[in-house]
Symmetry: C2
Subunit: 382 residues, 2 copies
């Protein structure tokens, strides 16, 4: 039995344990808050500290990119870490991320690094409004971001950002980015094995509510876009000599994809693969880092994923809809927290759309504010 240690003991480690157990993989997780190694699905079971976890593991991986750098170094020193600390850091630092995109010639929004007022002024003159400013080291799910729409707001935005930079405990920086008038947001989840084998899932269409992913839909895709995304995936992962699952978020502008963000890990927009793909992203990540053959990433049937945010229960009637599966993360209830997700599939996109409409009637609009509208517009297009 191969032993896997995951840095981070959240829902992604939990779903890795669920996917890895049938493969006879022993998945443990390093909880970065308690500094203990735990069993992801039963975190009350502890297995010592990081050093012991590293010693016991055959392979180490991460479920998030904001792992402390000394932790990454300690893991990398064991030669068991996949992907590399370098790749993980890129996901946690927009400066490194942008440099990677440039070196791979991966299309992305025009941008500028901001460290002081002079940079800020230069960014405004080099880019046209609106501009989005994102902190380089922190910030996901909409945190640590500023939007500048009119020149009049520049001073207020700068003051707030300057305070943020001054308060930052790490060497922070801000990336100013031309806001792209995109048609939609899509993401590509793919996987690369040590020997260079690559497999990518179909592009997923993503919808955000207040900066947090709310719905992802995987359905048969536009071949041109899929090819474009696959080429970016190949270029980036080969450049990094990447091993494991990596997700790329894109803005789609017409028939062109611009990279928005890279996540060097299994990704929320890939949770649909648990019911909709031949092999789920969690199993494929484990296969890749354990040097097993990659599983097929084919779409089995159109599938949507709906995040459950800030709620710890939903009506049981949801389970009465065919092809609905609920995945709870066993986390304490907190506003804005990802508590679980619902996967729903259909034999066709029309059936999937009808089920989404039905789901929207059973889930409270207070917790799923955009679902009904999304489901109706998705149905209208089928």
């Amino acid at each position: 039995m191969k032993k896997v240690l995951v840095l981070g003991a959240g829902q992604l480690a939990r779903m890795m344990e669920l996917a890895g157990t049938p493969l006879n993989l022993d998945v443990k997780a390093f909880d970065v808050r308690s500094l203990k190694v735990v069993q992801p699905i039963s975190p009350e079971h502890e297995y010592g500290n990081l050093a012991q976890g590293i010693a016991n593991a055959d392979v180490i991986t991460a479920e998030f990119e904001h792992v402390a750098h000394d932790t990454l170094s300690e893991c990398e020193a064991s030669s068991k870490l996949y992907p590399s600390s370098n790749a993980i850091k890129i996901g946690g630092d927009r400066r490194l991320e942008k440099s990677l995109l440039e070196s791979c010639q991966a299309a992305n929004a025009k941008h500028y690094f901001v460290n002081n007022k002079a940079d800020f002024d230069q960014a405004i003159s080099a880019l046209s409004l609106p501009i989005i400013f994102k902190s380089a080291l922190e910030g996901y799910d909409g945190k640590g971001q500023w939007r500048l729409k009119t020149p009049e707001d520049a001073e207020a935005v700068w003051l707030d950002m300057a305070k943020f930079l001054a308060d930052a405990k790490d060497t922070q920086s801000i990336v100013a980015e031309q806001m792209v008038p995109f048609d939609r947001e899509v993401s590509l989840v793919g996987v690369r094995r040590k020997n260079g084998d690559i497999a990518v899932y179909p592009l997923t269409e993503n919808h955000h509510t207040q900066g947090i992913l709310s719905v992802s839909v995987a359905a048969p895709v536009n071949e041109t876009l899929q090819k474009q995304a696959g080429e970016v995936f190949k270029a980036l992962t080969e450049e990094l000599n990447y091993v494991g699952v990596l997700a790329i978020e894109f803005f789609q502008v017409g028939e062109t994809l611009l990279v928005n963000e890279i996540a060097p890990r299994v990704h929320n927009s890939g949770h649909w693969t648990q019911q909709g793909a031949d092999t789920c992203q969690f199993e494929n990540h484990l296969r890749a880092i354990c040097d097993l053959p990659l599983g097929s990433t084919s779409l089995v049937r159109p599938t949507a994923m709906i995040n459950i945010i800030g709620e710890d229960e939903v009506s049981n009637d949801v389970l009465a809809i065919p092809s609905v599966t609920i995945h709870w993360y066993n986390k304490g209830k907190r506003a804005g927290r990802k508590m679980g997700h619902i996967n729903v599939s259909g034999e066709s996109e029309l059936i999937l759309a009808q089920r989404l409409v039905q789901l929207a009637t059973l889930l409270p609009a207070s917790a799923f504010p955009d679902l009904a509208e999304f489901a109706q517009s998705y149905l209208a297009n089928k």
Copy 2:
């Protein structure tokens, strides 16, 4: 979080934990050897004795039918046991099983109960050869069975059976059954909720090797047979006021199904549902006993299950075949022991058949003796 206690801590409890965890069900198991409550996927974690397990549980169920009767009584006294002890006992006693089949008028092979030499002689004259004798209380996977093909062997068979009856610690009995010249063996796995809702999976075709299930295939079915099987399922489960998954093994003779055996639990011939059905049998069993809406039992795509018997590893190349999933049970290697299973699916039966042929080339004939022949004949029929 609802707490479920499973009587028996083998692979079926393990797969219930894997299926139940996403639903926020806390699945523990009572190990009937150590008499401890454990976590099925990490049995080193203990949670006290049976009484504590019963007190902590919201719902109790069983993964096998040979549970000690005093254990069943103790569980039933808590009013948490589903299915009932009565239903579980029927699966462990062929006399009760045959009586149930008679009372439900479910077609089954002509049979006779044998407790002594006079019964034995009478069975031989009442039934025609060949006859199969099966011990009432024990015996599955081909154990505790005798076949009588010619009158000359009668004396030897009786002597062996008489010794078995004399040595039995419980009040044993033997059921003599007319051997049926069947065309094939099929099984129906279905589920019934407390409110009477029923859902059944498509009939599965089963192949045995030396009395142990080796391959099950689920594919689009003959409607007449499916209807027949569904009616038997309904009659039996309503008679028992059954709650949970129940499997019925049938002999198919032309267009008629004769009940061979009933298993009041999730069943090996239903393991294909993990990849091939909308909701797997483990989740549906948990949904039923926790009084949640049943999940759809539709076939998503043709799927076969291959048991891994007596081997604790297979070539990693198996994982390179698309739509192949391996499920290991983390059990110590022992000849004849079910160690895991492989599920393989195909977009069509032809593709499934081709993959089975490919699998057979990668799995050693010593451990999978009939697979190559089965795969070839399955392919020839597609």
